[in-house]
């Protein structure tokens, strides 16, 4: 099971049904793509995220009807600093798909997925709490892990692991 180099060329991957569907829907929404270690990752424009999720959910063949996970990666000091990571899961096809959205470091915000999947609620609250990424239109965006009077967002890379804040 030796590692194959990652494929990042959009031309080579456009036969994949997930990517083909998104490209047919709105070619400008897809900013980058990667196929690595048998997992497909699609980077999306932040404005297109909700619509793209709906497209993937409602497509009769793909049926990505569940969201497995939402998390974030902080690439400090690189800009755009944050990458919000969505793992979609298709229950009929038993397939995973990773969507990613890049966000700038100052005042990161993105549309919430709670209107599509109410279960995104806790995941988005966790990302807000630990990374400080705001989710617009979220019904109850308050801290979930840390006390409500906590200062800062602990999983950011410029937040120290030990010692005082």
């Amino acid at each position: 099971m030796a590692l194959q180099p990652a494929i990042t060329d959009i031309e080579q991957l456009k036969d994949r049904p997930e990517l083909a569907t998104l490209l047919a829907w709105n070619p400008s929404a897809v900013t980058a793509v990667k196929f690595d270690r048998n997992e497909l990752t699609i980077w999306l424009d932040r404005i297109a995220l909700c619509e793209a999720c709906l497209t993937l959910k409602n497509d009769p063949k793909l049926q990505y009807n569940a969201i497995a996970d939402i998390t974030c990666v902080d690439w400090f000091p690189r800009e755009p600093r944050f990458e919000v990571v969505y793992q979609l899961f298709s229950i009929p096809n038993k397939k995973y798909l990773r969507l990613k959205v890049k966000l700038q470091g100052d005042d990161p915000n993105i549309d919430s997925l709670t209107p599509i999947w109410p279960g995104a609620d806790f995941f988005e609250r966790e990302v807000w709490d630990l990374f400080g990424v705001r989710f617009d239109e979220h019904p109850n965006l308050v801290r979930i892990m840390m006390p409500e009077n906590w200062q800062g967002h602990p999983l950011r890379k410029d937040y120290p692991v030990e010692g005082y804040r």
Partner: protein, 401 residues
């Protein structure tokens, strides 16, 4: 842990509703779950879970450790199924490395994972029945759980925080006579399950406390990110062991119990059926156990045997290097979901090419499943909340991380 001060939904001047605080020290909340209940008489109008009391920042800690040093941390997330967490993390890193695991190690991993599932379900069954008032079952379950914990102690030296799996295989070969002990346990275990079922399945009090209680429709279960027995109890047939096999699960034959009822009783029936299926899988693992090594042939990643280390210069150098500077993992990211006793346990590991993970995220089943509690309880009685919490089988260590 937001310590919410909720505003009542009904008109406060009418004085109709009151806020009832349940937990975090309530014995039937399985740890430190705090629930804010807005009640109208005995009926729940609104339910708000408040979590975070056990948040220890494990994800942040992982970023400061070498890859192999993260394994003991994963035990502490879900303390009822440490092996499942070890496995999910090891599989994720092995996928990042592109490492091939010898079949014997895979089969022992499956065997121990099914024992872990038995262990976890026994704790669930005992405490769940105790919450609803059947104390005897608790004593029966903990009797068998003790046997499983002794097996864990034999194989890893620890009863609960086992850390037995390593990146690239297992820590060491199981001790002599271990498989015979497991077999002895597995042979008599089905009779034990019959004992639990005798106490509960037909018991009229149990049936009336659980049947039709805390209903969850399949649409809601999917929308609220439920996984595992909570999802299968609502009639959605997903089991990652069968659908996306990992660690050699494709070699085993087992059924996935599903029920369309969506209530507490359905989830109970499913978990008891899973106990029987786990016993079958573990039996198959014992019968077909392959011979061979329990560690991958990757000297730069896997620590050498003690004997080799003392006799061969090469092995000693590798040992020193792995312990002092870790091993580097090629750049990339993986999401590795596996079926834990509670549902989908997913590890998202990002590597930047150094010896420490850039980011480790655990998608924990308890955290996601907890969201269904609101749907299950609103409009029902306070006494049903206890049954509903038990039926989604949350572990707060897993929930808060």
């Amino acid at each position: 842990m937001a310590h919410m001060t909720p505003t009542p939904v009904l008109d406060p001047s009418q004085d109709k509703t009151m806020i009832l605080n349940m937990g975090p020290q309530h014995p039937s909340t399985h740890g430190v779950l705090r629930l804010l209940l807005e009640v109208d008489g005995e009926t729940i109008v609104r339910l708000m879970p408040d979590i975070g009391y056990l948040h220890t920042g494990i994800e942040k800690t992982c970023e400061a450790k070498f890859y192999q040093q993260v394994v003991p941390l994963t035990d502490r997330i879900d303390y009822l199924c440490p092996m499942t967490n070890n496995l999910a993390y090891c599989l994720a890193v092995e996928k990042l490395l592109g490492l091939e695991i010898p079949p014997r190690a895979q089969w022992i991993r499956v065997l121990l994972n099914e024992l872990t599932r038995i262990n976890s379900h026994l704790v669930w069954l005992g405490t769940h029945a105790m919450d609803i008032g059947a104390l005897t079952v608790f004593l029966y379950c903990f009797r068998e759980r003790e046997d499983v914990l002794r097996l864990f102690e034999a194989v890893s030296g620890q009863r609960m925080m086992t850390s037995y799996f390593r990146i690239g295989g297992l820590a060491l070969e199981p001790p002599l006579g271990f498989f015979e002990r497991v077999k002895k346990f597995l042979v008599r275990f089905p009779a034990n399950i019959d004992e639990y079922e005798d106490l509960l399945t037909q018991n009229p009090i149990w049936v009336r406390r659980t049947k039709g209680v805390a209903y969850l429709s399949p649409e809601d279960a999917i929308a609220l990110c439920a996984t595992g027995p909570t999802l299968r109890g609502s009639g959605v047939d997903v089991d990652l062991r069968r659908d996306l096999p990992y660690s050699g699960y494709e070699n085993f034959k087992f059924n996935v119990p599903v029920s369309n009822d969506g209530d507490v009783y359905a989830r109970y029936i499913i978990r008891v059926a899973e106990l029987r299926e786990s016993q079958k899988i573990a039996m198959q693992a014992l019968e077909g156990m392959p011979e061979g090594a329990v560690k991958a042939d990757a000297p730069k990643v896997v620590l050498p045997d003690r004997e080799k280390m003392k006799t061969q210069m090469e092995a000693l150098i590798y040992h020193f290097k792995i312990v002092t500077e870790g091993f580097t993992v090629p750049e990339g990211e993986v999401y590795m979901p596996i079926e834990s006793p509670r549902g989908e346990m997913g590890y998202y590991v990002v590597s930047d090419g150094t010896a420490k993970p850039y980011r480790v995220h655990m998608r924990s089943p308890s955290f996601a499943n907890l969201q269904t509690l609101r749907k299950m309880c609103e409009g029902r009685l306070i006494a049903d909340v206890v049954a509903a919490i038990g039926s989604i089988d949350i572990v707060l260590g897993d929930c808060d991380r």
